[in-house]
Amino acid sequence: MPSLYNYAYDNISKTYNFTTRFGIIYRIAFIVDETFSSISGKNISNIFQIVIDKATDEKEPLDNLVFATIVEIVYKFFSSKRNSLIFFCSDSDGKGQLRFNVFDRWYKKSKYNNIIKKKDSVISISSTKSEIVTIHTSFLYHKDNKDKELLIGIYESIEKVLNQDK
């Protein structure tokens, strides 16, 4: 039995894809993120948002190979020490906390968490419907990223500024 699923980048969909033994298709996208540049006013590159989702809404049995495959993709992403990831889970559909917990569990179980470091924060902002939306966030960076102090400072400023009136 393989230890992870075969994944490949699809040039048409622009996503990394793999199919589980239950026939579930997973897609992983890396989106160029300009949030850090916008907030800091500096030209910050190599920041990406990761989006992980199934192609369909069908439920699947517990499958540890999914975890292993996604962790491997994230690890490969960090083969460039300059790369950093932000992961946002909005609670707008009531599942933000759940998704965040799954991601956190994956991180803690990963054998790479001594190389890839993670910071978490919970922020609240007003949505377009004037409701307060809680957002769970994580920032992942390589332990040897030479800009990590600057990046952590920008990331922490998001929580600090948004939560300062509470």
Partner: protein, 49 residues
């Protein structure tokens, strides 16, 4: 306007876009949106591996 107020507006705008972009990409992954609609929103896909 105070600098902190400007910073907060800028951060709220950035984070709101971040969330909207993620929702749009998730819709796309499920076949409910086109790649062009994401490109039109300024969403850029990367191939970092």
């Amino acid at each position: 306007m105070k600098q902190s107020s400007i910073n907060k507006k800028r951060i709220v705008k950035s984070v709101t876009k971040l969330i909207a972009d993620k929702d749009a990409v998730r819709s796309y992954m499920k076949g409910k949106a086109t790649l062009k609609s994401l490109t039109d929103k300024g969403i850029k896909f990367a191939k970092p591996l």
